[in-house]
Amino acid sequence: MKLGSLLLTTAAVTPLLALTVYLPFQKPDRPVTPTMTSPATVVVSPGRLAYRLPGEFLSAERPVDAPENQIRFRRSFDIMAYQVSAADYALCVSDGACEAPDSAVDRIGNLPATGVSFRDASAYAQWLSGRTGQSWRLPTDEEWAFAAAERFSEEVLDKDGGSDAIARWLARYRSESEAARGRDPEPKPQGHFGANSNGLYDVGGNVWEWTTTCYRRVALDRSGRIDTSTDNCGVRVVSGKHRGYMSFFIRDGKSGGCAAGLPPDNLGIRLVRERPSMLSAFKALWRGTAG
């Protein structure tokens, strides 16, 4: 990891320390020269979200719905209005920073980038940060759900105070079958699925979006609090019409999905832009005087 990016990631946690480390030593080995206009973003205002954690939850050794949490977003954040386009992803490929997609890119159709893995999405975020001089990253699942607003739907399988594992299994199969009815997995031009109340386009269309949230298995105690939990960060949450869990290297969800589940139609990217921190403001100033 380059010193610059290391500093950026730690900046939020320890801005003062970062500053003191950064200043006396060196300029970044490759000065950040913005060469690309920043993608359109929308502001997601502070608020609350009733949210069930992703992953698998067990209570008394039986699968149950995750408990509902109230999450508070104290600060607003910026997220891309559109999913990353295939054309923009192709720029990253031609810069040698992203791996080429498996099939030819349609550059004229204004299509979203699809067929990308978590690894590809992360590489793109890093590349875009370099090209724009801004800090782009994948959202967490909470951020995604909050930004998706009315287009975020949670799976609730326990009806009337619980059900047995087999009934849950059959219920999930039925709800997934219903969701699959009449679906058209062919990627559509950006904007095709319209905007949600936050101004995000194509949320819950046929392209699922990678998040940084890891797959988690949780055992709840009698009071519904987390007793034990195991994280598997080899598998990340992909969010869209419904939640999915994908291994980080999977580009085509149809192949990487589980045997009896409903796979995402396509995997794509939508990034969050970090607000300029005190550090980056200072950095820009320093670059202006010393660079």
Binding site: S103, A104, I166, L170, Y173, P185, E186, A219, A259
Partner: protein, 372 residues
Amino acid sequence: MLTRREALLGTATGAAAAAILGSIIATPALAQAGAADIAGLPRVKVDLVAPPYAHPHDQIAKGGPKVIEYRMTIKEQPMVIDNEGTTLRAMTYEGSMPGPLMVVHEGDYVELTLVNPEANEMPHNIDFHAATGALGGGALTHVNPGEQAVLRWKATRTGTFVYHCAPTGMIPWHVVSGMSGAVMVLPRDGLRDENGRPLKYDRLFYIGEHDLYVPRDENGKYKKYGSLGDSYDETLKVMRGLIPTHVVFNGKVGALTGDNALKAKVGETVLFVHAQANRDTRPHLIGGHGDHVWEQGKFANPPAKDLETWFIRGGSAGAALYTFKQPGVYAYVNHNLIEAAELGATAHVVVEGEWNDDLMKQVAAPGPITTN
């Protein structure tokens, strides 16, 4: 002179020979049962039912032999074979892949009217593996667009048998474009286990498996063709590579999953009839078994017991009987798992009922590793 190849492919001279065969068969002196005998049999007109089911039928025959009349119309039509909209220029019996299942009893006569509508591009016919003589009837049913033919054959052997199209010089292309199906000839007194005790089924699921070969363009996308003729050359090239692009049950990836999943209940006995006219396959019911399996499909042989996976030779149909013992979602797959998961050969059976803890129980749900 009629060469072996010409006879097999039913080429021009072959067709002429077939005409002679036809007149021989029509000669009463050479036939076992006279036309008058057959004319005296009861006739039953049966409407075919689209797969994965079979038309209503008795498992144990009532009364003596009958003439069972079927009518099949050949439909050439584009068919979507996966969730990405890949379109095959398909050729089908009755518009379905596989063609419908015919169920008769030993000693019955099958009388098929095969219709090739004017709108079609190709000549077609039908070769019944269950029938005896004239290339399984292929030589007597060669119908051009705008023609129909009627073939009668006697069901002398019990079992599940493939039927398929076998026209002049283009047999494999017609078969891998969708033209195959199955016939089940039941013993008159129904199915029996290895000790001769009767077996019966509550439901019948008819799975037709097809290996398909769709050409791709320079970007790797599957090509669509305006007509059958346009698709022929490039399709043949893919076929000659022997690697299918799709291996599907009932004509489409996911044709028997989700909303279209098969349904059963705990305690019900299901007969799975599995036909593959072209290529070997190995059905497996994930989480279940084959209680009684006629792997080769022929009921005169005792069924194998308790199989995990059974082998259906390309060009044959087999039958497996299973009584569901646990609820849940079962995957019925071709257990070449690449073909099942990547190429499409997966069906689901959604089974309702009570779980049996004695047969299986999760003693400890997955959780952190403990040492003790």
